[in-house]
């Protein structure tokens, strides 16, 4: 039974990767938790050389950036999906959809370049900010990145609603918008929910593009809701300080703890998006 042996060991090994990754993250960020307890998560000052590891600025920055991205990308993406599946004639639908799938594949570092050379000058000139590197820039860039994903998945969900449902609604003469709000969207909602969760996961995990445009200053914006200020996100901090933190030091444990938080939240979101096939 060589085959069975090969299949089961490979399955075991590949499913072990996640356990190893999480175990490693927990094990190497354990010294920090031992020394400083959990208080540093809500600490507001991140100065590694004074072993102050406040996570709050980066947490608020990450939440803000992802929220802004969803706020912009969700309505536009779903509207584009409705337009593409309901209003466009068949020929145009294929090409628009293909364009979107192409855009979904564009690497994120290209968005970083775009952010630096298209978005920042635009923001600086239009809103005459002190500097273009703000949470808004990061939010806009992430929105641009997750827009194609949301649009493609939502369009699949809306087109999956059977034509008989649309005709039944038509027979009642309730008009196009009522059909949309009370028949199409309720039935497509599970698909759109999955699209949103996947998009959130990707936006949260994006490093390179955000690193260039968010300003990476570890400080909570003045009134915390002010997104026109430079801020820091978890991934941007890891990206900037990962290379030169000396392995095994407290600073290194703090960075790995950031990674652990990101991984745990992202896994939670991924599980939510695929509820029916997973254990939970």
């Amino acid at each position: 039974m060589m085959l069975r042996w090969w299949l089961s060991t490979s399955a075991l090994l590949s499913s072990l990767t996640i356990v190893l990754v999480l175990g490693f993250l927990l094990q190497s960020s354990w010294p920090l938790i031992q020394q400083q307890g959990i208080a540093f998560i809500i600490g507001t000052e991140w100065y590694p050389f004074e072993s102050l590891f406040g996570m709050l600025p980066a947490l608020i920055g990450t939440i803000w950036a992802v929220a802004l991205a969803l706020l912009i990308a969700l309505p536009c993406g779903v509207a584009a999906a409705i337009l593409c599946s309901e209003l466009l004639p068949k020929s145009l639908r294929g090409s628009v959809r293909f364009g979107m799938e192409l855009m979904a594949g564009v690497p994120s570092v290209v968005y970083g370049l775009l952010g630096m050379w298209l978005l920042l000058p635009l923001l600086e000139s239009q809103l005459n900010l002190l500097t273009g590197r703000t949470l808004l820039a990061a939010g806009l860039l992430l929105a641009l990145m997750i827009l194609p994903t949301i649009m493609v998945l939502s369009e699949d969900a809306i087109r999956a609603v059977r034509q008989s449902q649309r005709e039944a609604a038509k027979n009642l003469g309730i008009g196009w918008d009522a059909t949309l709000w009370r028949v199409l969207l309720p039935q497509a909602w599970p698909g759109i929910r999955v699209a949103t969760l996947l998009a959130t996961g990707r936006a949260m995990g994006e490093t390179v593009a955000v690193m260039l445009v968010v300003g990476s200053i570890d400080r909570i914006p003045e009134p915390f809701y002010n997104f026109l200020q430079p801020a820091q996100t978890l991934t941007s901090r890891i990206g900037r300080e990962m290379a030169e933190a000396s392995v095994g030091s407290l600073h290194w444990a703090a960075l790995l703890f950031c990674g652990l938080m990101l991984a745990v939240v992202a896994m939670g979101i991924a599980l939510l998006s695929d509820r029916r096939r997973t254990v939970i």
Partner: protein
């Protein structure tokens, strides 16, 4: 040119097709990593050194002085670059196994945007610069310049240039910069921010100044000193430092050969051409 291009294209496709797992180690490789300030010297020297020793191959990457020190400590590179002296912790850890060899002298210029320079801010005292970086002075008007908020650019804490700047201006090498607006990484990132904004102040190595990024004189009243070649050579300009390369004590002789080349007359000539001051 065509043969060269055609040969490359052919071998490119061949290799991807063959998917050779391990290629014969044709030539000896010296790995160099570390401060982006020292990078131009090493790359120019590498190019000229290959003329003498064609079989030698040098891989160069940036990442900052911290990365140079960390990688030498981890043993993943042959030559580390640091634009600052080793801190006590580092000296303790790797002091006895690695030599710190200065190859050039450089001044950390206090760089301001062109508009700020032309609006009258041509010299600042150490205390004024410290006040800006601590957030006590927020507008150029208080320093006799144009009426605009100051875009204070800080560098990643591990960068050599920041280490020297903080040591001289703020008192200790790891000081906080509460007034900082954004944090940048490499010298060219900081250079691009200063040149694009018209109200920015930052810390740049002398070789990175250009017409849009102007250095200001540092000092009280008429004792202010511009970071010109003579001032740095005679040490009158106070914010200066050695650009060091870190080499393990008993490293391979190709590495020793390259280090000697750097300190040779030809090496020091390269230092001059790149814009720094020779160590002799």
């Amino acid at each position: 040119m065509f043969q060269r291009w055609f040969a490359n294209a052919l071998s490119g496709l061949l290799l991807v097709g063959l998917l050779v797992v391990s290629l014969p180690a044709a030539s000896v490789t010296i790995k160099v990593a570390g401060s982006t300030t020292v990078l131009p010297i090493l790359t120019e020297a590498a190019k000229q050194y290959r003329v003498i020793h064609p079989e030698l191959n040098l891989t160069v990457s940036g990442g900052g002085s911290g990365m140079g020190v960390a990688n030498i400590e981890r043993g993943t590179i042959d030559i580390g670059m640091a634009s600052r002296p080793l801190s006590e912790g580092e000296a303790g850890r790797i002091g006895d196994t690695t030599d710190v060899i200065p190859v050039a002298r450089d001044a950390v210029a206090i760089a301001v945007s062109k508009a700020v320079y032309e609006s009258g801010v041509t010299q600042l005292s150490l205390s004024q610069i410290a006040a800006i970086y601590r957030g006590e002075i927020r507008n150029w008007r208080e320093l006799g310049g144009l009426d605009a908020r100051i875009l204070v650019i800080d560098k990643e804490a591990s960068r050599g240039t920041r280490h020297v700047f903080a040591d001289v201006v703020l008192g200790n090498p790891r000081a906080r910069a509460a007034g900082a607006t954004i944090v940048t990484g490499s010298n060219n990132e900081e250079q691009s921010v200063i040149s694009r904004s018209d109200q920015a102040i930052g810390m740049l190595s002398n070789a990175w100044l250009n017409d849009r990024v102007r250095a200001i004189a540092v000092g009280e009243g008429d004792a202010a000193v511009l970071p010109t070649a003579e001032n740095v050579a005679e040490g009158r300009y106070i914010i200066n430092r050695d650009l060091n390369i870190l080499v393990r004590k008993h490293s391979r002789d190709e590495v020793k050969g390259f280090v000697d080349f750097l300190r040779s007359a030809q090496g020091q000539a390269i230092v001059q051409t790149v814009g720094f001051h020779s160590v002799r």
